[in-house]
Symmetry: C2
Subunit: 338 residues, 2 copies
């Protein structure tokens, strides 16, 4: 039996962000291309007045983009906790901390009624993750419905939902500035490189997300249903030498590129540089993801582990002054989907 319909406010302000990590190039080029397209429409004097959503396209770490590095002084995408956003800024404050506070003024303030309705932050990974929607909540129906919509419309690539189980004040990433927000994480793509297929997945994902928002804002009812959610449980570091902290092994070739496989106790985990196999010693089977992500070497993460479960998502419709409970809305996505 389907859950009762949930009415939610319109999403009138959306931010599409790229370059939060300056060497994750699909997001950088998607944002640049969207800015060019917008400028072209202005130059061509096209009307945009009737659009039901205002979209900001933002390169969020321009210094890191310019240097084609993840960050210049500290990882911007760890700077959006309440504590960091409210810390005092001086001449010696790292660039990215100052920048996070600028972005908080532009897109937030985080947790306030003035914050933008939805932030979609574009990321790439060297891991073989396909398309992932990464969010902090497993009960944010907007994020889960957008995920459902992407999964339905992007049939040639796996689309998954990852849930980082943290309270809002500890949520550290840019997307936590919005009333709703998620990272769109796509891989595999080496950092500092753009691959056409990954770029196209990302551009398509953003366009589908905005299509969903426009349909939602125009009153469409979106059917509920079960969705699979991967909830982050823990992470495993590489084996390292005690004195130098250098890694002593790489991800085992049988595990490399197998993101979202079920890793069972005693499965191969690492292959040491002298050729020995090290096995997963955890007490329970878990799903592996972010396997061999480049930027996580310095964070001490060789792979992350998740539990998979199903979430029953209710049907949603925009809340307006006009709707009546039971109103079928202007269009039913159920029909479109079948």
């Amino acid at each position: 039996m389907e859950r009762e319909r949930v009415y939610l406010p319109a999403l009138s302000r959306v931010a599409v962000c790229g370059g939060t990590h300056g060497n994750e190039l699909s997001g950088v080029h998607v944002v640049r291309e969207r800015l060019k397209e917008k400028q072209q429409r202005v130059d061509d004097d096209e009307e945009e007045d009737e659009d039901v959503v205002s979209v900001s396209n933002i390169l969020t770490n321009p210094r890191a983009v310019q240097q084609c590095r993840r960050y210049t002084e500290t990882d911007l995408n760890r700077c959006f906790t309440r504590a960091t956003l409210s810390s005092a800024v001086s001449d010696r404050t790292p660039y990215e901390i100052a920048r996070s506070q600028e972005l908080n003024i532009l897109l937030g303030p985080k947790g306030s009624p003035q914050a933008v309705d939805l932030v979609c932050d574009l990321h790439n990974t060297t891991a073989n993750m396909g398309v992932c929607v990464i969010a902090y909540s497993d009960t944010d129906w907007i994020c889960l419905h957008i995920f459902k919509y992407l999964q339905h419309h992007m049939s040639d690539v796996p689309v998954r939902y990852i849930h980082f189980d943290l309270p809002c004040r500890e949520a550290y990433s840019l997307d936590s500035l919005g009333k709703h927000g998620f990272a769109l994480e796509i891989g595999p793509q080496p950092h500092g490189v753009v691959r056409s297929n990954v770029y196209t997945y990302m551009k398509t994902g953003v366009e589908l997300m905005l299509d969903w928002v426009r349909l939602f804002n125009s009153g469409t009812v979106f059917a509920g249903g079960l969705v699979e959610v991967y909830t982050m449980v823990s992470a495993i570091d590489y084996p390292r030498e005690r004195q130098t902290h250098n890694i002593m092994a790489a991800i085992h070739p049988e595990l490399q590129d197998q993101d979202f496989c079920l890793l069972r106790p005693n499965d191969p985990l690492f292959e040491t540089f002298s050729g020995a196999t090290l096995r997963y010693q955890g007490p329970e089977p878990l799903y592996a993801f972010f396997i061999n992500e480049c930027a996580y070497y310095e964070k001490g993460i060789a792979l992350s582990l998740a539990r998979r479960r199903s979430v029953e998502v209710p049907p949603v419709q925009m809340k307006s002054g006009l709707e009546h409970p039971g109103d079928p809305g202007t269009s039913e996505e159920e029909e479109e989907e079948d």
Copy 2:
């Protein structure tokens, strides 16, 4: 009819170098592992006196390795021209230029009788190149025989020989310090990442190279034969915006990962960020390689193009005071190969 046997001096000093680009991690870890193994043999008091070759294992750009970047100030692997090696050094000299002169003292001087006999420099690429031996000569029988030996013994990965057609004084890479030298370039592997399979290919390649050197030094006769050589002809840059110099396209999905395919006039080359296909406009079919190598974005290279041809390699044997022309040597590799 086989060419006449060529007698060449023993290769008594060999250098295995990694970390010339600090974020090409297979080479970094192969050198570290070889240093650990050597230390272990010393600790275990194993005899190495009888080895017919002295091998130095060197991390060549330790600062860049420490920062996991290609280079700190300038690309070390462009610093080994005669001009750069003889330039004056001051306090303001980039680290890598000073380091290239140190390495020239350690392994060279380039072009002198004191130079090491063979330099093997370990590199990774984000391009789908498999295993490549990259050298400046198509008549260096030592490099070509080592290539032939790797190709014969590494049957699960393509092994190719790339020839950069430059005179010695202009040869810019570390391997040009030795009397013989080549880069062992293996991909695809994202920079800043180590993939176990690529690491294993590299470690195996180095061990096979040293096996060949030991066999050669002990008098083995290596049979000649035809080998395929890819000679670098030209390079193509990404289409770029005039004002910003930003790229406007990525490698076309049909060309991505197709290194060493024959690119014919009118074949798809790029896909622009707005979705258009741009085609190869060159006058003749050529072989594409280094397709979408990360570090070449800044050098203005989206891919390189080569001509392929066959080189007749003569049989070789070590020249000693004892050999007689026509001496069959201690062992014939022909037998092993057939």
